[in-house]
């Protein structure tokens, strides 16, 4: 079963268990309607997200990747989101070098209580990816180079 053509794009989200996954749950409990494109992978901490996961996802067929963790200073594991921020900021700058528009990748901080914010973030990000259209790594690499 693939993405339903013309309706959805492939968006993958890595969400930390303690804040953002909870925030997405809160949005669900509050019935905040969202676009359906996103597929969520639960990780214990945003610091667990290896930038290579993002690159592999984008090179293998994802059109957009979102990483979301706890707010800075609010990490369940003290510093995990600080490590995430450094790595992911670096990744954002690296993406154009491998021919991928950096707007296809976004990282953000959402707490477990911020259901409305989650709805906003995922709606905006999905819109952005739809604006960019499907990612064909071959053509995008050519355009960039």
């Amino acid at each position: 079963m693939s993405v339903i053509a013309a309706k959805e794009l492939r968006i993958i989200g890595f969400l930390c268990n303690w804040c953002s996954y909870g925030g997405a749950d809160t949005a669900g409990v509050s019935r905040f309607k969202q676009p359906t494109d996103l597929r969520i992978i639960r990780v214990p901490c945003s610091g667990r997200v290896d930038p290579l996961f993002v690159v592999k996802a984008l090179l293998n067929g994802a059109d957009g990747v979102l990483v979301s963790g706890c707010h800075p200073r609010d990490c369940h594991y003290s510093d995990g989101n600080f490590y995430a921020r450094r790595r992911l900021e670096m990744l954002k700058r690296l993406l154009p070098f491998i021919g991928i528009d950096e707007r296809r990748f976004h990282y953000t901080w959402i707490s477990a209580s911020e259901g409305a914010r989650w709805q906003q973030v995922i709606t905006d990000f999905t819109k952005q990816i739809h604006k960019l259209g499907p990612l064909s790594t071959k053509t995008e690499v050519m355009v960039e180079s």
Binding site: G22, D25, T36, R39, I41, V43, G47, R48, Y77, S113
Partner: protein, 653 residues
């Protein structure tokens, strides 16, 4: 591999917007899946029995449950499959309720999304390994943060349950907000008369160690084994010598120090004991006002003190303690009047807050219980109460109800009539919220027996006119404007999170909402737990709450700690990092990035240095796993292979 998939309808919650039959049908086609079924309520007893039976009948070795959030029922289903004979880590959940059926509107898209969620879970569960908990010893001491009524109740209940308790209170005395109240609704019994004995119990209980005027500096460790640092703030008075006689307070020449206990209704001395029933009853110098600190000379209190307790050189002291669980009862704050410019923003002395009015009513307050206007010390004959001063007001960012103001305004109106029989009270309200036992009767008594005039509407403006304050507002029942010339105006200012609540939450690693109130684990079913195991909540730190609710939560949190400590050992979470020593090159980057110091270097027999995880300390964040350049250290249950399997499932489809 034989995977069984159980898809829950959750009544109509999932089945309403997801075609569960189709999800089951598509799931059956997946490699590895030998059994897939849908059920009305998978979490119910028959639903769980079905999983157990299927494990036996179909010889399942992995289970996927597609239902609600794993944050809700992961533990439930782990227990189920364990009872069915599988290792509890052979379970994965696909969250098709919170993340799919409740948020997507298109049934076709939802169904497709649910199928993919199940595919991801199947891909992951096929790479799950059996994991086994180890047990570790528990330090059966509990830390209670906050000495208000909730914290004291929690401390007393834990202590009565034979636990050692550390009670840390940031102000010089326990008692919290309740110690400042005059009477309590709906019984009009004296607040300090019912609280005072509890305060004395706290001080005298042999199991309770009280740290007054202290704050939490640092918290390290995990449930069962925390190491904490407590900052004992300098009082400049040696409390081991101070007898609480109050001589220093009387002789202190600085008479204009801000009185935190009385919320500035009247000034106090630079050296003071906050109130007569204070526990501990010890003096403390406020260096912001003390002449010795400001001008370098005075020393009156040092001369007068017969026990020589004054020590101007005193420094903050850091004390280290070891504990096993934490109850957070850090209370609430109130908004400053300067956020309410239409009500004078604190510029008019005769516009005061509800808690300041409590102090004017209170016999141990600055006016000895006589209601006197702050401006000219005369008795007010007309008092106007303004409820929702800030509360339920989106324009200042406080959309919530402060919970107890309606009730205390009714009480204050009654007490005003008691104190000044020829006085008149007006109450502006939006709604009267009185849903407790005996509460509605109480607000009616204020109106019917004590003649308080209730006006349904909001106050738009308060301004001075001669000696009076004009309160202008709407009466929405009559549809008119009203203006009342008042002698005194009392604002029921909105309840906020306690000052410093966010900083404390960061130390505790617990979540808080947009307003700074701490998040409970589940709003209905786990109201005093947090998502950080070993940390519990009580009282208004979690949200505005009156006394009975705070006391109830204090006891509830204590019972949670007593249950936690009823065993001598706890089971560790085995989803922790593991080092493959063959792949480890000994760069030890993981040692540097681990926030918990859970990784150390180890020398193998052949002299090669590798990383080693200290099992009991590892919290399972996986920062090391994404740090390791050669994939040698893997967080169990969230390994690179498992997460990439999920990514690949999505990308290849």
């Amino acid at each position: 591999m034989r995977v069984g998939v159980f898809i829950c309808h959750c009544g109509n919650n999932i089945a309403g917007t997801v075609d569960v039959k189709k999800v089951a049908e598509e799931t059956r086609k997946l490699p590895g899946v030998v059994y897939a079924t849908d059920y009305m309520y998978t979490c119910s007893e028959p639903g769980q029995d079905e999983i157990k039976e299927a494990i036996k009948k179909e010889s399942l070795d992995r289970v996927v449950v597609a239902s609600c959030s794993p944050r809700m029922h992961e533990l439930t289903f782990r227990r189920t499959i364990e009872k069915g004979g599988l290792n509890r880590y052979f379970l994965e959940m696909a969250n098709i309720r919170e993340h799919i059926s409740w948020v997507g509107e298109d049934k076709e898209l939802n169904t497709n999304k649910a199928i993919e969620a199940v595919r991801m879970a199947v891909a992951k569960v096929m790479r799950n390994k059996p994991l086994y908990s180890t047990s570790f010893k528990v330090n059966k001491r509990v830390l209670v943060i906050g000495g208000g009524v909730a914290g004291m109740q929690a401390a007393l209940d834990c202590a009565d349950g034979n636990l050692e308790v550390l009670l840390v209170e940031k102000s010089p005395s326990v008692g919290g907000m309740m110690a400042r109240l005059d009477k309590t609704f709906p019984t009009i019994d004296c607040s300090i008369c019912i609280l005072g004995p509890k305060m004395v119990d706290v001080a005298q209980h042999e199991k309770i160690k009280l740290y007054a005027y202290s704050e939490i500096e640092e918290i390290k460790g995990y449930v069962g084994n925390y190491q904490i640092k407590i900052r004992k703030k300098a009082t400049y008075v040696d409390w081991s010598k101070c007898t609480g006689c109050g001589e220093c307070m009387e002789k202190c020449p600085t008479k204009d120090a801000y009185d935190h206990f009385n919320f500035g209704v009247a000034p106090t001395r630079a050296i003071n004991i906050p109130f007569p029933q204070a526990i501990p009853k010890k003096a403390k110098i406020d260096p912001k006002y003390c002449r010795q600190f400001l001008k370098g000379k005075c020393g009156v209190c040092a001369k007068i003190c017969s026990t020589g307790a004054i020590n101007y050189e005193m420094q903050d002291e850091i004390v280290t303690e070891e504990i096993g669980a934490i109850i957070v009862a850090s209370g609430y704050g109130l908004i400053d009047m300067d956020r309410l410019p239409e009500y004078g923003g604190g510029r008019y002395p005769d516009v005061i807050t509800g808690i300041q009015y409590e102090r004017l009513l209170n016999a141990s307050g600055p006016t000895s219980g006589h209601i006197l206007r702050p401006s000219d010390k005369t008795e007010p004959k007309t008092v106007v109460f303004v409820s929702c001063a800030g509360s339920r007001d989106k324009s200042i960012g406080i959309p919530y109800c402060s919970n107890f103001c309606c009730m205390y305004i009714a009480k204050q109106a009654i007490l005003t009539k008691d104190h000044i029989p020829d006085s008149e009270s007006y109450v502006f309200y939006i709604d009267i919220r009185s849903p407790g036992k005996g509460y509605d009767e109480f607000t009616r008594r204020a109106q019917e027996d004590y003649g308080a005039k209730y006006i349904r509407g909001r106050v738009s403006n308060i301004y001075p006119k001669g000696k009076k304050m004009v309160v202008r507002g709407a009466d929405t029942l009559l549809g008119t404007q009203v203006e009342i010339e008042a002698d005194l105006v009392v604002l029921a200012t909105a309840v906020t999170a306690a000052p410093g609540a966010a900083e404390l939450a960061e130390k505790l690693h617990i979540s808080y909402d947009t307003f700074g109130f701490y998040m409970e684990s589940h709003p209905k079913l786990r109201p005093v737990e947090t998502n950080t195991s070993g940390v519990f909540l009580a009282g208004a730190a979690q949200g505005p709450k009156d006394i009975p609710a705070s006391v109830g939560q204090g006891s509830a949190a204590a019972s949670k700690v007593l249950a936690l400590f009823s065993k001598d050992t706890l089971e560790s979470d085995p989803a922790i990092a593991q080092v493959n020593t063959n792949a480890c090159v000994g760069c030890l980057k993981c040692v540097e990035t681990c926030p918990f110091g859970a990784i150390k270097e180890k020398e193998l027999r052949n002299g090669r240095v590798v990383a080693e995880v200290i099992e009991t300390v590892c919290a399972g964040c996986g920062i090391c796993t994404s740090t390791c350049p050669c994939g040698a250290i893997q967080l169990q249950h969230f390994t690179d292979n498992q997460l990439l399997a999920e990514v690949n499932t999505l990308c290849q489809s």
